[in-house]
């Protein structure tokens, strides 16, 4: 019981200090799902429905749209808070910058659609403005937040649909599946390394093997940089297979391999931004 009280006191102090620390600006919540509702405005079902829609859209088109509902952004203007969130969350793919943030400050009666660089053509400011004032605001006025968001997102999706964007990476070759291929590549690389070394000599054989493996991995969807690094690693490992041939590779190979490549792969259980940039495009409005 005593411990319990102490913990409670500790918790209260922590809460207090953290409140003090953020007294000036509203903190940016962690991005864990496509819909972040800090006001409990949406029911779980409504939230899940919007999330499912956004997820399906991302799988089809590759663009990331996320929703954030906060009580207030005071003392900041909604645009200032929104760009901070966008910079932190990095919605959209890195090269495409095709992310959209739909931000609602419920108690302020303000909202904003923040548009990533890559979608400024598909969603010009004035379209964003119209979506807010003509589609979302009327529903929000009636207190229908889920309906407003749903309709607004449908319009946003409709605009992005018309934009020629590169297809999302097909699920078969995403990070986890490429990870599954690694043992196969590893084994194949060893065999081919031995053959190539016999055929072309130690140095050329290793070089060919390295570029071969790098090329395969690149073809399967790894970034060119990652593939290059991997190729070089394979090159050295093939070099080191040693004159004794097969005996040489037992020890080093797997650990070296992991060290060089594991950083590039990551699971995708939790929703996270893809590295897209924002430049302040979009529109704000109230209801």
């Amino acid at each position: 019981m005593k411990l319990h009280n102490k913990l409670l006191a500790l918790f209260a102090t922590l809460l207090l200090t953290s409140q003090l620390a953020f007294a000036e600006f509203v903190a940016i919540p962690d991005l864990t799902s496509r819909v972040t509702d800090l006001t409990q405005t949406l029911s779980q079902g409504q939230q899940a429905a919007i999330e499912a829609k956004l997820q399906a859209f991302e799988q089809e088109k590759g663009s990331q749209i996320a929703v954030l509902i906060v009580p207030t952004t005071q003392p900041e203007d909604i645009a200032q808070y929104s760009i901070r969130v966008a910079e932190e969350w990095k919605l959209g793919r890195e090269k495409e910058d095709d992310g959209v943030l739909v931000l609602v400050a419920k108690d302020d009666h303000r909202m904003r659609i923040e548009v990533g660089y890559g979608l400024e053509g598909a969603i010009p400011d004035l379209y964003a403005k119209r979506i807010i004032s003509e589609v979302i605001a009327p529903k929000f006025k009636q207190g229908d937040f889920a309906g407003g968001l749903n309709d607004g997102i449908d319009r946003l999706i409709g605009l992005v649909e018309g934009e020629p964007l590169p297809k999302p990476e097909t699920p078969a070759f995403n990070g986890t599946d490429l990870g599954n291929l690694i043992p196969m590549l590893l084994f194949g690389g060893l065999i081919s390394g031995l053959f190539l070394r016999n055929m072309f000599g130690t140095f050329s054989g290793s070089a060919i093997n390295g570029s071969l493996i790098g090329g395969i991995v690149w073809f399967l969807g790894l970034s060119i940089l990652g593939a290059g690094v991997l190729g070089i690693i394979v090159f050295f490992i093939t070099m080191m297979l040693g004159a004794r041939g097969i005996n040489g590779y037992g020890g080093d190979y797997p650990s070296d391999y992991d060290g060089g490549s594991s950083g590039s792969f990551s699971g995708s259980d939790v929703f996270s931004g893809g590295g897209g940039d924002f430049g302040g495009g979009g529109a704000s409005g109230d209801w």
């Binding site: 203007d77 704000s284 109230d286």
Partner: protein, 199 residues
């Protein structure tokens, strides 16, 4: 023997240079230039909106000549400025640039305030569109300015701190001007161009 010595000297010089921030200057310099271009870009975008905006407002509020002329003047002043990357190395030119843009900012916000008095203008679809575009552009300007300020901060800190400052002195790198705080307040608050449902 002599050859080896030279080689060593070159390597040592390279090490010293990279250790003294020379390479860092290069990347920070490029970064500040890039963010400066973005600022210019967005200011240009705003300037491009002005003629349309003026002619739309004129259609409804012809006798608001004073404000309209002010905007047109500020616009032509901004347009006549020669803005090159060298502006970055010339605090005086930078201040001039900032003043001219600030003038356009305040003229535009006065124009928007005047427009408030004309219900027909406010209801005009093309005016509303221009208003949304202007609002978005002002916001982009704010973002671009903030990023420029950040980039310049990094650059200036790198140049001033020891021992980088010696390298900077040797190669003639000077600190770059940033947007000043006095003006910051005026510009970072986007002109109020909301004609929403609130009275």
């Amino acid at each position: 023997m002599k050859n080896t010595f030279y080689k060593l000297a070159v390597v040592a010089l390279l090490l010293v240079l990279s250790g003294c921030g020379y390479n860092q200057f290069q990347s920070l310099d490029e970064k500040s230039k890039a963010s400066w271009s973005e600022v210019l870009n967005q200011y240009q975008r705003r300037a491009d909106l002005v003629p349309n905006l003026v002619s739309t407002v004129k259609g409804y509020a012809e006798h608001e000549e004073k404000v309209l002329t002010e905007v047109a003047d500020a616009r032509s002043k901004v347009g006549s400025m020669q803005v090159t990357p060298e502006v970055l190395n010339d605090p005086e030119a930078f201040a001039k640039f900032q003043a001219a843009q600030g003038q356009l900012t305040s003229a535009l916000s006065r124009l928007m305030a005047v427009a408030e008095n004309y219900p027909n203008l406010k209801a005009d679809q093309s005016f509303r569109d221009l208003q949304a575009q202007l609002e978005g552009t002002e916001n982009r300007i704010t973002v671009a300015r903030n990023r420029y300020i950040e980039a310049i901060k990094d650059y200036n800190v790198a140049i001033r701190s020891f021992p980088n400052n010696l390298t900077a002195m040797m190669f003639g790198y000077k600190t770059k001007p940033s947007f000043t705080v006095a003006n910051e307040k005026e510009i970072s608050v986007a002109p109020k161009v909301e004609f929403g449902d609130k009275k």
